[in-house]
C-alpha cells in the first residue's frame, strides 16, 4: 500500500462512474486530479437550479443539459488530456449489459436510488468487476467496497422498504403532519389531477358499507352546472367537512383520540372571493405551465412562512383553479412532482387544512415540499469527503490490496474520537439470494393470487428485476423482451391473469420456481408454500417472501400500505435528506423516509455481522450514537456515551 499516492495502476485503469450528481461531480474531479485517464460516466439526469449549490461543475447556463456531458466538459478544462466518455442514459438500459461492465477495472457508484444501486450491484457481480458504493445525507456519508466472493455485496443485507403508513392512519386518523402530506399528495392530488381509475381510499370508509358517496355520481367530477370556484368549494367542503363528519360518527375510533373538527369553506372564507377572471387567462398565456403559481397570483412571497388557515384555504382554491385554467390538458395524467410549484402549493395547502382539522401544527411550503418530495438534504462538503474516500478505495481495489479494503462512515458526531470511521468489510452473507444464489421461500395463496401479483409484488418490487423470465421446470410461464413472437406475448399476457394453480404448468405448494433477469444475469429459485389466509393490514401483499435475511434485521414495519416516496426511495442515503419526518442517500440523489433513526449512512443498512452493525443517529442533534459493539457478532446493541 506504499503506492497509494503513486499507484501505477491508476494510469492504466478504466473506470465506470454511475451518477454525475452531487457525489459524481466531486468524484470526477478527484479522479482526474489523481491521475485517472480513462473514465466513463453514466447519468440520465439533466441539471436543475437546486443542484448548483453543490454540483460545482455546473452553472446556471447549463440548466436543462445532460449532467454527464457538462461534467465531462468542465473537467477537461483543467485536465484536457484525459479521456472522459459520457452517457446521457439510464444505467438500466439494455446497452449497459454484462459485457459492457466487463471492460472496466472498477465501478464507482454515486447514485441516489435503491433500484439503480441494486441493478448495478448485480451487473458488477455478473461481470466480476469490483464496486465501490457510496451515499451521503446532510453531514453523514458512507463508502463501501464490494468484491465478489471477498466481501458482502450491496444486497447482502436486505434493504429496508420505503416508509409507508397504515391506510387508516392516512385516511382517518392522522396524528403527524407527514400523514396529512401523504393524504394530500397520494390521495387527494391523485384523485383530482391523476388517473381517475386508480383505486383510491380518499373517501373515508365508514362502518356503514352503503355510504352514499360510494356509488352514484363521482363527487370529484367537475359538474356542468358549476363554475370553477363552486367546484373548488364543493371539493373543499366534501373532503375537509363532510368526510370528517362521517368519520366522527364512528365513536369507537375517537375514544382515545382527539376528535377532528370539520372545516367548511364558508367558515374560513368570504362567501365570494374576488373573481379575477381576466387575470387567470393572462397568467396562463404568458408563462410556461410549470411556472404558474398560486403564491404569485395571491402575492404570497416567503416560502418559509406558515400560512394561516384562511391563507391555506385561499391557496387551495386558487391552485385548483389554476390547474383547470392553465394546465387542463395534463389533468388525468399528473403525478406529484416536487419541482412542480403549483402541485407543491396545492399539496401544502391541503395538508395544512387537514392538519388544522386534526389539531396538528401547520407547516411552511418549504417544509412541506421537503416532506412531500422526500428531498435529500445535501451539502458540498460531505460529497467532497466521500468522493475522496471513494478514490482511495478505488486505488486499493486496483492494487488488489484486499487486506486494506475498508468501508468508511462519515459521522456528524465523533465516535471514539473519529469523524471518519473505517471498518473492515463483511464477508458475503451466505443467505443472500443475489450473490450466494441461496433459494427463497414464498408463502402465497396459489388458488387466489394471479401470476401478475407475483410479478409485480415479488419479482419487480422485492427482487428488483427489470426484464424477468419465470420458469417452472422447463416450462416458460412469463418473460419480457424486445424480440418475442406475437403468439408468445399473447400467451404470457394470458398467463398474467391466471391464478398460480391454473397456469399451464400448475404452481402449487412445493413447487420450485426459477426467476431470472437476463440483463442482470441474476437467477433466483423460489420455493412456493401454499397458505390460505393473510392478514390484510399486516400482510397487504397477500404473500410473504422469506429466506433472504438476517434474522435480526428482518423486522419490518407492520401495516404499511400507503407510502411516501414510492420507488425513488433508496436505502442508502444518496445525498440525502436527513429527515425530519420523512427522506436521500445519494447525492446522486433521494431517499424516502421518515424519522431517520437510521440514516442511510447508518452502517446498519449495509453491514452484516461483525463490526459496526448499525449506528443509529439520534435525530435531535443529541450527540449520542447507538451502535453495535465492534467486536460483537451477536447483534447486541450497545450504547456509547
Amino acid at each position: 500500500m506504499d503506492s497509494l499516492c503513486h499507484s501505477s495502476a491508476v494510469k492504466g485503469a478504466k473506470v465506470l462512474m454511475v451518477g454525475a450528481g452531487g457525489i459524481g461531480c466531486e468524484l470526477l474531479k478527484t479522479l482526474a486530479l489523481s491521475g485517472f485517464q480513462d473514465i466513463h460516466i453514466i447519468d440520465m439526469d439533466t441539471i436543475e437550479v437546486s443542484n448548483l449549490n453543490r454540483q460545482f461543475l455546473f452553472r446556471q447556463s447549463h440548466v436543462g443539459q445532460s449532467k454527464a456531458k457538462v461534467a465531462r466538459d468542465a473537467v477537461l478544462r483543467f485536465r484536457p488530456h484525459i479521456s472522459i466518455t459520457p452517457y446521457h442514459a439510464n444505467v438500466k438500459d439494455s446497452d449497459f449489459n454484462v459485457d459492457f461492465f466487463k471492460q472496466f477495472s472498477v465501478v464507482l457508484n454515486g447514485l441516489d436510488n435503491l433500484d439503480a444501486r441494486r441493478h448495478v450491484n448485480r451487473l458488477c457481480l455478473a461481470a466480476e468487476v469490483p464496486l465501490v458504493e457510496s451515499g451521503t445525507t446532510g453531514f453523514l456519508g458512507q463508502v463501501t467496497v464490494h468484491v465478489k466472493g471477498k466481501t458482502e455485496c450491496y444486497e447482502c443485507q436486505p434493504k429496508p422498504a420505503p416508509k409507508t403508513y397504515p391506510v387508516c392512519t392516512i385516511t382517518s386518523t392522522p396524528s403527524k403532519f407527514v400523514h396529512c402530506i401523504v393524504w394530500a399528495k397520494d390521495l387527494l392530488f391523485s384523485k383530482l389531477f391523476g388517473d381517475k381509475n386508480q383505486e383510491n381510499d380518499l373517501n373515508v370508509r365508514s362502518s356503514d358499507a352503503s355510504n352514499s358517496s360510494e356509488h352514484g355520481e363521482d363527487v370529484f367530477e367537475w359538474r356542468n352546472n358549476e363554475d370553477i370556484e363552486q367546484y373548488g368549494r364543493r371539493i373543499y367542503d366534501h373532503v375537509f367537512g363532510y368526510n370528517i363528519e362521517i368519520a366522527l360518527k364512528n365513536q369507537e375510533t375517537w375514544k382515545n383520540r382527539n376528535r377532528p373538527k370539520p372545516i367548511y369553506s364558508r367558515d374560513v372564507l368570504p362567501e365570494h372571493l374576488n373573481h379575477q377572471n381576466g387575470n387567470v387567462d393572462k397568467k396562463c398565456a404568458t408563462d410556461d405551465p410549470l411556472s404558474v403559481s398560486a403564491m404569485t397570483s395571491l402575492g404570497l412571497k416567503n416560502p418559509q412562512d406558515i400560512w394561516s388557515l384562511t391563507e391555506n384555504s385561499t391557496v387551495f382554491l386558487e391552485s385548483l383553479k389554476l390547474f383547470f385554467a392553465c394546465r387542463e390538458k395534463e389533468i388525468g395524467n399528473l403525478s406529484f412532482d416536487k419541482d412542480d410549484q403549483l402541485a407543491v402549493e396545492f399539496v401544502t395547502a391541503a395538508a395544512n387544512i387537514r392538519a388544522a382539522s386534526f389539531g396538528i401544527p401547520m407547516h411552511s411550503l418549504f417544509e412541506a415540499k421537503g416532506i412531500a418530495g422526500n428531498i435529500v438534504h445535501a451539502v458540498a462538503t460531505t460529497n467532497a469527503v466521500v468522493a475522496g474516500l471513494i478514490v482511495i478505495e478505488a486505488i486499493k481495489v486496483l492494487e488488489k490490496d484486499i487486506d486494506n479494503y475498508r468501508m468508511t462512515y462519515c459521522l456528524e458526531h465523533p465516535s471514539k474520537k473519529m469523524l471518519l470511521m473505517p471498518v473492515e468489510p463483511f464477508e458475503p452473507n451466505k443467505s443472500c439470494c443475489v450473490c450466494s444464489e441461496s433459494p427463497l421461500a414464498l408463502e402465497i395463496n396459489t388458488h387466489r393470487s394471479k401470476l401478475r401479483d407475483f410479478v409485480e409484488k415479488i419479482v419487480k418490487a422485492k427482487l428488483g428485476m427489470n426484464s424477468p423470465l419465470i420458469m417452472h421446470g422447463s416450462t416458460l410461464l412469463y418473460e419480457v423482451g424486445d424480440d418475442l413472437e406475437d403468439d408468445m406475448i399473447a400467451n404470457y399476457t394470458a398467463n398474467l391473469e391466471k391464478v398460480l394453480s391454473e397456469l399451464p404448468s400448475s404452481v402449487t405448494g412445493g413447487t420450485m420456481l426459477t426467476v431470472e433477469d437476463l440483463q442482470q444475469e441474476f437467477t433466483c429459485n423460489i420455493y412456493i408454500k401454499h397458505r390460505e389466509e393473510f392478514d390484510e393490514e399486516k400482510e397487504p401483499d397477500g404473500m410473504v417472501l422469506s429466506g433472504w435475511t438476517q434474522a435480526s434485521l428482518e423486522k419490518k414495519d407492520d401495516n404499511k400500505v400507503v407510502g411516501n416516496g414510492g420507488n425513488t426511495s433508496t436505502s442508502m442515503p444518496t445525498e440525502g435528506e436527513r429527515e425530519v419526518e420523512l427522506d436521500e442517500i445519494s447525492e446522486g440523489t433521494e431517499i424516502s423516509g421518515k424519522k431517520r433513526k437510521q440514516p442511510e449512512v447508518s452502517a446498519g443498512e449495509t453491514n452484516s455481522s461483525n463490526e459496526v452493525q448499525r449506528l443509529d443517529v439520534v435525530d435531535d442533534d443529541e450527540d449520542e450514537l447507538v451502535m453495535l459493539d465492534h467486536q460483537d457478532t451477536s447483534n447486541k446493541k450497545k450504547k456509547l456515551q
Binding site: C5, S34, F56, A380, T381, A384, V385, C410, L419, D621
Partner: protein
Amino acid sequence: MDGEELTEQETALYDRQIRVWGADAQRRLSKSHILVYGMKGTVAEFCKNIVLAGVGSLTLVDDRAVTEDALSSNFLIPPNENMYDGKTLAEVCCNSLKEFNSMVRVSVEKGDLSRFGGDFFDKFDIVIVSCCTLTTKKLINEKCRKLSKRVAFYAVDCRDSCGEMFVDLQKYIYTKKKLDENNQPTAIERELQYPSFQESISVPWRKLPRKVSKLYFAMRVIERYEEVEGRNPGQISIDDLPAVLKLKKELCEAQSMNESHIPNALMEKLVMGRREFPPVCAIIGGILGQEVIKAISGKGDPLQNFFFFDAMDGKGIIENISPPNT
C-alpha cells in the same frame, strides 16, 4: 436572527443545504468574510466548498507564481500557461472561483501576509492558512487573537497520504440542543475555550494521552526542521531524511518520549510527500469547510482542536491538544 430575508434566488439555489442547516444559518453565512492564504489543493477544495455554501466574501492571498507543483492537485488552475501569464496563484484561482457562485464576492489581496496589520485581519470572521512556516502560523494566529472581535483561525496542511488541521475559535459560545429528563429538547449554552497554536504545541509530549495520533508528533518534527533550516514549507526531499530523523531523536529525548513512537517510515513519507494527494485534499478541504460553516452558523459542535487523516489507515481523528487548565 433578524435581518433581511433570503431572496428568492438564494432560496432556490440553496434549497438543499437550507434543509440541512436552516435559513438562519444561511443568512449568517451570507454575511461572513473569509481570508485564505496558500492556494494549494487543500485550500482550493475548501474555497470551492465555501463559495458554493454562499459566504459573503472570500479573499485570497498568495503572490507566488503558478508552478507545476501548484497545478498538480489544484483544479482551479487551467493547464494552459497563456491563461496565467504574469498572474499570481491567487489571481488565477480567483478567476475560477468567481464562476462557482455569482452571489459571493471573491477577490485577491496582494502582499506578504505576515506584514499585514491587525486592521487588515479585523475585516474577516475566518482566517485560514496553509503551507506556511511555523513562524508565520504563530504570528497570524496571534494577530487574530489580539483583535477585539473573535476571528477564527485555522491552519491546514497535507503531505502525501496525510493531512492535519488546527482550529482556534478562542472563546466560543454556542447553543446545543439536548434532551432533558422528560425527553423534551432543550437548548443549553456551551462555552468552549481554545488554546492558541503556540499554547497547543507547547504542551509537553509526555503529558499527552498515549494514544494521541503519531501524525501530530511527526508534523511537529517536520515543521521544526523546515523552520531551523530556513526552508519554505514542502521544500524538503529524501536527502533531508537523515537530518530529519536526527532532529526527531533529539526532540523525543528532550520531551522524554520514546523515539519509536514516531515511526521512521512515517517521517520518510512526509519528507517525500511534498505534493498533496488529491483525495486527501478533498477530505481535509471538506472537513475544514464543514467546521467553518459550523463556526459561522453557530450550529453543531465544532471540533477541538486538531484533526488528522491518513489515507493509509483511513481514520479521521480528532485530538484535543490543550494545556491542562483550558
